[in-house]
Symmetry: C2
Subunit: 462 residues, 2 copies
C-alpha cells in the first residue's frame, strides 16, 4: 500500500537525512566500498551508516551489524548484498522504519528470478518503502550532494535529470557528462524497475525545482498507459527527452536478452512519444545536445529564426538543417535588412542567413546580435562563426555574452564555432555563461529545433 | 591549350621546386604576409621568392620587384594582389614560364566580374599555366611540406585530401582537423573554380600515393557530366566523400548568394553521387568520421559484422544503427558462440552483439577480439566499451592494439569508448595505432557502413 503522493515518497530517496549502506565493504573495488566512498567524498552532508556484520569501521565511519542497530532514523538504505539475502535485509529495513531502499544487487528478474523479485517488492510495499531497482548502479542527486552510486564521483551540478535503464552505459555516460562539462541534477539507475519506474520519477522531477529537463535512456516501458498519462502532463511543464533503444527488429531482440524488456513496436512508441510531447532523440549525443539547450534557453515566443554567420558555407549548412528540422527561417523585411547592413561590408548579405563575411569583427557580431535580440519579430537566433585571422574567438565569445546580457529581452540563442583549440575554449566560455554551443552548425540547429518542438507542445508558441 | 595529363600539370602545383608569392607583404595580418609566413614556418624545403616592388626583404627573404626578375625557374606562383592587377601579373607569370598559379585575390565572378575572370583564365591557358581560384585561401600539400594558405599553419600530415568550395568554412575546418588530430594530405581551396575544378583534382589525387580518401565540401558543380565520369573511375580506386550544401530550397538560394553556384536539384545530385559511388555525408562531422575510417581500414571481404561490447545498452544502440545503416549483423553459429563464451561470465551473451558484460577484463576483450579477427566468416568488427571500475580504458586500448597486431588477417575494426577523460585518452591512443574511434556507438557504425558501401561499389565484396 502506498501512502502519500509519489513525490513525497521519493523525497526520502533524493533528499534523505540519513543513508545506510547495507553490505558496505572494506575492500576497494567492491561495490559496497565504492558506493560508501562516493557518498563520503562527494561530501554528502547527512548521516552515513555503513552496515557490515563483520567490520568495526570502514573508511573512518563506525560500522553497524544490522540496520536495526543504527541509533537513528534511516531515510534511505542502499542495499548491496547477494540477491538471496535481500528479502531478509528488506524485512529488517521495514522493521527499522526505513523510508526508501535502493537495491543494487543483481540476480533477479533479469536472469529469470522473477519470484525473488516479486517477493522483495511485496516486502517493500508491506512496509511502505519505495524500492529502486534491483540490478542498479545507484543514484545521484546533486542538490543534496548525494552520490550513492558506484559510478564516477564528480558529477557536475546542473538542471538535467538523467534516468538510465542500462547499467554499464549509464555509468559510462556519467563519466562522459563530466568530460563534456554537462551539469546534472540527478542520475537514476532504474534497473529492473520492479517498483519505482519512469512514471514515478517523472512525478518527482515534475515537482523538483532543481530539474529543468528529464532525459531517459529506455529499453522498454512496463505500464505504457500510465507512462503516457504522466509524461503528457509533465511535458507541458518540463521537457522530456528519450533515447528509446531497440528501434530495429534485431535491436529489440538484443533488448530482450539485455534487460528482459519488451522493446515493443517502434512505430507505436514513436506515435506515443509524439502524442505526449516527449522528444525522441536518436542517440545520446543528440539527447544531451537537446537537453543542454532545453535546460538553459527560454522558450521562444514564435517561429521566426535568424541565422547570423561570418561564413557563407556554414550559413548554407545551417539553412539546410533548418528546413530538415522544421525550423522556419524568417523572411527578412527591408527595414531589418537595413539595420543588419550596418554591421557588414558592402559584399555581405543582410538576408537570412545574415552573412557578416569573413571580415566580421567582434563589434560587428555584437551589433548584429543585439539587433536580432532586441527585434520582437525575431524569436530565435543561430549564431555561427568560422575561425578567421581577423576575429579572436575568445573576444568574440565575450562580445556575445555582453550582447546577451545587454539585450532587452531573452530569447533562444544557439552557437556553433568551427575552428581550432581557441574555438573550443571560446565555446566552453559561452557554455559557462549559459549559452549552449555545438560543434557543428547542424547540431546547433537540431538543438534549437528541439526547443521549438517542445515550446509548441507546451503552448509557448501561439 | 592544355599540354600533358592533368596530374602532370598539377604536379607543379602540389610538388613545386620553387614558389613565388606575388603580393608578399611586410605587414602581419595581411594575406600576402600570412601565406609567406606559413610557407616558411611549415618548413617548405624548396625555394621561396617573395615578390613586392617596394620591399627589399620580407621575413628574412630577398624580395623581387616582379616575377620576371627571379633568377630561377618558378613552378608555382601564389597571387595576392588587387583583382584588377591580376591580368598583368599573370601575363608576367606566363612570360616567365611559371607552370601553375593560385589566385588568392577576390573580386571576380563571385561579385559579378565575370569578364575579368574569363580574361585571367584565357591568359593562363595561353601560357599553358593551370589556375587555381580565384577567390581562394590557398592550398596545402603535406607530403611537400607546402602550406601556401592563409589558414592555420600546423596541418597534420595524413591521407585525406580535403577540397573546399567555401573559404571561411574551409579555413575553419583546417583548424578543426588540427584540434581533432585528423591527418590530411592536402587542403585545396577551389573558390570560383575558373579553371581547376573538382574533376581535375580528383584526377590528381587518383594518382597521388599519399592520398587515400578525397573529401569535398561542394556547393555546386559546373561540368556535371565530367565530374561524374571522373568520380566514377576514381571511386573504384579511392573513396570520395562529399558534403553537398544547398540540399534545401532555401539552402540552394543561400548557395547562389554565397558562391554564385547553382545548387541544382538535390535529388539529381543524390542519384548522381550514388551512381558514381560517391559517399554523400550530411555534415562535416560525419564526412570526417567516414574519411578517417576509409583512410585507415582495409576493405571488408564480406558483409558479416560482429559487435563486441561490455554494455548491453551500447550493444542495442549499435544494433539499431546497423539496421538503419544497412550493415548485416552476422547470425552466430554454435561453434562461434562456444568460442566467444570463453571470454565472459555465465550471464554474458555470445550472440551478436557479443556481450562480455560489465565484468569484462582487458584480457577477455583481447581474447574475444582475436577470435573475431582470426575467424574468416567474420568480416568487420564493432568494438564498444562502457567505462567501468573493472577495466582501465588505457590498458584496454593497449590490449586492442596487441590483438590487432597479433591477428592473422587485417579486417575493419571501429571502436567506441563511452566514459570520462581516460576514455578520451585511450581513444587517442587507438587512433595513433591506426584504429579509428568514435564518440558514440552510432557514429562508429555509420563510419563502418561507409566503408562497406564503398567496398561494395569498388568490388571488394563479391
Amino acid at each position: 500500500m502506498k501512502v502519500g503522493s509519489v513525490e513525497k515518497q521519493l523525497e526520502y530517496m533524493f533528499r534523505p537525512k540519513s543513508v545506510a549502506i547495507i553490505g558496505a565493504s572494506r575492500k576497494p573495488g567492491k561495490i559496497g566500498h565504492e558506493i560508501l566512498r562516493n557518498l563520503i567524498e562527494y561530501k554528502y552532508p547527512g548521516k552515513i551508516y555503513p552496515v557490515n556484520p563483520s567490520a568495526e569501521e570502514i573508511l573512518g565511519l563506525k560500522c553497524y551489524k544490522s540496520v536495526i542497530e543504527i541509533p537513528d532514523e534511516v531515510d534511505l538504505a542502499v542495499v548491496s548484498v547477494p540477491a538471496k539475502l535481500v528479502p531478509t535485509i528488506l524485512e529488517e529495513c521495514g522493521k527499522k522504519g526505513v523510508k526508501a531502499v535502493a537495491v543494487i544487487s543483481a540476480g533477479f528478474g533479469e536472469i529469470g528470478n522473477v519470484e525473488l523479485e516479486k517477493q522483495i517488492v511485496e516486502i517493500a510495499r508491506k512496509h511502505n518503502m519505495r524500492l529502486l531497482g534491483p540490478n542498479i548502479f545507484g543514484l545521484v542527486y546533486t542538490p543534496s550532494r548525494l552520490n550513492a552510486s558506484f559510478g564516477p564521483r564528480d558529477v557536475l551540478p546542473g538542471n538535467i535529470a538523467f534516468i538510465s535503464q542500462s547499467g554499464a552505459l549509464g555509468i559510462a555516460l556519467m563519466g562522459w557528462t563530466i568530460l563534456e562539462e554537462i551539469g546534472l541534477s540527478a542520475v537514476v539507475s532504474v534497473g529492473n524497475k520492479a517498483d519505482i519506474d519512469d512514471a514515478d520519477l517523472l512525478e518527482f522531477f515534475y515537482h523538483d525545482e532543481d530539474t529543468k529537463v528529464i532525459l531517459i535512456y529506455m529499453e522498454g516501458v512496463k505500464n505504457g498507459r500510465r507512462f503516457m498519462d504522466v509524461a503528457k502532463r509533465v511535458s507541458k511543464k518540463k521537457p522530456i527527452v528519450v533515447i528509446k533503444a531497440g528501434r530495429s527488429e534485431r535491436g529489440a531482440k538484443a533488448v530482450a536478452s539485455h534487460t528482459g524488456s519488451l522493446a515493443g513496436s517502434d512505430r507505436i512508441y514513436d506515435a506515443a512519444f509524439r502524442q505526449c510531447g516527449v522528444l525522441r532523440a536518436s542517440n545520446f549525443e543528440e539527447a544531451f545536445d537537446w537537453a543542454r539547450a532545453l535546460a538553459t534557453l527560454p522558450p521562444p515566443k514564435g517561429e521566426n529564426v535568424v541565422i547570423i554567420t561570418n561564413g557563407g558555407g556554414a550559413g548554407v549548412l545551417a539553412t539546410d538543417a533548418c528546413e530538415a528540422n522544421g525550423l522556419h527561417l524568417m523572411e527578412m523585411t527591408s527595414d531589418l535588412e537595413d539595420r543588419f547592413r550596418k554591421y557588414m561590408p558592402p559584399f555581405g548579405s543582410p538576408h537570412n542567413p545574415v552573412d557578416l563575411t569573413g571580415q566580421a569583427s567582434e563589434e560587428q557580431y555584437k551589433g548584429a546580435l543585439l539587433e536580432a535580440l532586441n527585434e520582437p519579430r525575431i524569436h530565435s537566433i543561430i549564431l555561427l562563426y568560422c575561425q578567421t585571422i581577423i576575429t579572436d574567438p575568445l573576444k568574440l565569445a565575450d562580445a556575445i555574452v555582453e550582447a546577451y546580457s545587454e539585450a532587452k529581452t531573452k530569447k533562444p540563442v544557439v552557437v556553433n564555432f568551427v575552428g581550432g583549440v581557441e574555438c573550443d575554449k571560446a565555446m566552453r566560455r559561452l557554455e559557462k555563461a549559459g549559452i549552449p554551443t555545438y560543434p557543428t552548425p547542424e547540431r546547433a540547429v537540431s538543438a534549437l529545433a528541439a526547443v521549438h518542438r517542445w515550446a509548441r507542445f507546451a503552448g509557448h508558441i501561439s
